[in-house]
């Protein structure tokens, strides 16, 4: 059911109040409804068109690396995922383990505890295909000519055509009796009750109004994205002073912000034997489309102390590249003929290991509701850049083995790379309310409950302690399923 103002909200309250109607929030509301638990979903954007940038609610201050305007973060029913391209792949088992060689913590839950929710997430997203249940990997034999040990092919999939779930979810929420949606309203404050260990009330303001209304809450689920989750907690904790539970006792809220940085480190020249078209979007069984990324085996990542990454060779490709006389001469001797090449400037998509030097904080500037803007301080430390550089080198040596490619580095040396390379972004905002065993190292516990606050849970990729290099949506929904099962068990 859709309500247009706080005055229309039925008396008696809801089992859950959910801030944000992205896929995490909607998955939780729908799953809780099936267990006969009621929810109020508060969404700052409208039901149909995203709140446009001009309103400034998603404006941020940037003090670290350049970050493009957040036009891909959409305030609307369905959130950004409602406009997502559908590309999907599960997190790898290894990102759940501690990798000391990267100074990278693991997760406080096992991969198995996470992976048992992937099937539910795949069904909900209409992603019905995967070469195996646990991963989307497939053998490289027969696909990559001449491929030798060390290389791996990673599949990404999306439903075909891409399903806009927000469109499917609108009819449901219009008629639902257990779930009420309050669009175009924004939560501006979380207020602790007298005991100081639970959220008792929240302040809500209509997006074009200036005065807020106060609502009581029983249980609060914060699902408004990797920037806003941390910003709202920090803004709400500010008046409470240091050590408050929203900023987390040890000041962890907002820290360890992660993106998926992308760099063009190599020029790759593919000869005519390389199945180039099949690496771009192509049909796979089950009414799905697939996309292939190339990477190296886990044992080599460990040997060379590298983060997880993949290369998508179809990016920036052009025809008929000239490789010069030297390469043509080698081709004649080694392969019997000089080949025509196609040049690609593929992006390496990297995992960024969490560091406290990347964070979301509060800006000095405020918006028209008097709310402090988020300030993003995104950085890349030298050891991370050196690991990216090493990844180019190892991948180039291994990928060259195929014999169907020739490779040339884009940068003369590491210093040139570090000083001049363009850092591209994916608009994947992760970390900032990380999952941990205790408050000294993170913000939420293994059930996604904020340390020290009895009735506040967080869902979405802000709870990721590490992020792999893959798109987060499938994994966000899997974690939302895990949280929903926990909430249903504890509230029945």
């Amino acid at each position: 059911m859709i309500v247009s103002s706080t005055a229309d909200i039925p008396a008696g309250g809801f089992d859950f109040t959910i801030i944000g109607s992205g896929f995490a929030g909607l998955y939780l509301a729908e799953t809780l409804e099936r267990a006969e638990l009621t929810s109020l979903v508060i969404e700052q954007g409208p039901l149909d068109q995203p709140l446009n940038e001009g309103k400034g609610y998603y404006e941020i201050d940037v003090t670290g690396l350049d970050y493009l305007p957040l036009s891909e973060r959409l305030a609307a029913f369905g959130g950004t995922s409602g406009h997502w391209a559908g590309m999907s792949r599960p997190l790898a088992p290894s990102v759940f383990e501690e990798r000391s060689f990267l100074k990278c913590p693991g997760w406080p839950i096992t991969y198995g505890e996470f992976a048992s929710h992937l099937d539910a997430a795949k069904r909900w997203l209409h992603h019905t295909w995967g070469p195996s249940d646990a991963t989307y990997d497939e053998p490289r034999e027969g696909f990559l000519p001449g491929a030798t040990a060390g290389l791996e092919v990673h599949n990404f999939v999306a439903a075909k055509p891409v399903r806009r779930l927000n469109g499917e979810l609108k009819p449901w929420i219009r008629t639902s009796k257990a779930v009420h949606l309050l669009p175009s309203h924004r939560v501006v404050d979380l207020r602790l009750d007298e005991g100081g260990a639970r959220v008792g009330e929240i302040d809500v303001v209509q997006i074009d109004a200036s005065t807020s209304q106060r609502l009581s809450v029983n249980n609060l689920l914060l699902t408004s994205g990797g920037i806003e989750n941390a910003r709202l907690m920090l803004a709400s904790g500010r008046k409470l002073g240091p050590g408050n539970p929203f900023s987390s006792k040890y000041g962890r809220t907002g820290l360890a912000f992660m993106e998926h940085p992308k760099y063009v480190g190599l020029e790759i020249y593919f000869d005519e034997r390389f199945p180039f078209r099949e690496t771009g979007w192509h049909d796979v069984p089950g009414g799905m489309i697939g996309l292939k990324g190339y990477t190296i085996e886990e044992r080599l990542l460990r040997e060379f102390k590298l983060p997880r990454f993949a290369v998508f060779p179809w990016g920036g490709a052009d025809e008929g590249a000239d490789v010069g006389d030297g390469i043509r001469a080698l081709d004649r001797v080694l392969h019997g003929s000089a080949k025509r090449y196609r040049r690609s400037l593929p992006e390496f998509e990297f995992e960024q290991t969490p560091r406290d030097t990347s964070y979301i904080a509060l800006s000095e500037r405020t918006d028209r509701h008097g709310q402090p803007l988020a300030r993003m301080h995104w950085t890349m430390e030298e050891d991370q850049l050196r690991a990216f550089w090493k990844s180019f080198e190892v991948f180039a040596a291994l990928f060259s083995q195929t014999g169907s490619v020739r490779i040339r580095p884009r940068f003369a040396d590491f210093d040139t790379f570090a000083q001049t390379a363009e850092t591209r972004i994916q608009h994947h905002h992760m970390g900032t309310t990380a999952m941990s065993h205790d408050a000294t190292t993170g913000v939420v516990d293994t059930n996604c409950k904020v340390h020290g606050v009895g009735n506040l849970h967080v869902a979405g990729c802000s709870v990721f302690p590490t992020a792999d290099y893959v798109n987060p949506t499938l994994n966000i929904v899997a974690l939302a399923d895990r949280l929903a099962r926990h909430l249903i068990t504890t509230h029945r």
């Binding site: 030798t148 040990a149 060390g150 010069g324 006389d325 030297g326 390469i327 043509r328 001469a329 080698l330 004649r332 001797v333 080694l334 392969h335 019997g336 190892v394 180039a396 040596a397 291994l398 060259s400 083995q401 014999g403 020739r406 490779i407 040339r408 580095p409």
Partner: protein
């Protein structure tokens, strides 16, 4: 060591190329011709050697390209830029 390896490479090329019509000319280093089974064997042997180099990460940059050390050596031979006489590089002379 490098010299030994070079000599071995030259020898391998020479033996495998003997009587096959494979010719590497210093004066036209890119005119490399090969026919017949033995030449095919030579190419396969080179592929194997080169792949082993990549696997052991024995790679080097030549003119900006990532090449295996074997490929790099072969390219040097093909270009004849190492002071060797034309005669020594003529594989059909054996």
């Amino acid at each position: 060591m490098a010299m030994k390896r070079r000599t071995a490479l030259l020898g391998a090329l020479a033996l495998a190329g003997a009587g096959t019509g494979l010719l590497v000319s210093r004066w036209n280093p890119f005119s490399v011709f090969g026919t017949g089974e033995r030449c095919s064997f030579l190419k396969l042997a080179w592929r194997a050697r080169s792949t082993a180099d990549y696997q052991a990460r024995r790679t080097t940059l030549v003119d900006g390209w990532v090449l295996s050390e074997s490929e790099a050596e072969l390219l040097t031979l093909l270009r004849g830029g190492d002071g060797e006489s034309t005669q020594e590089c003529r594989l059909d002379s054996h």
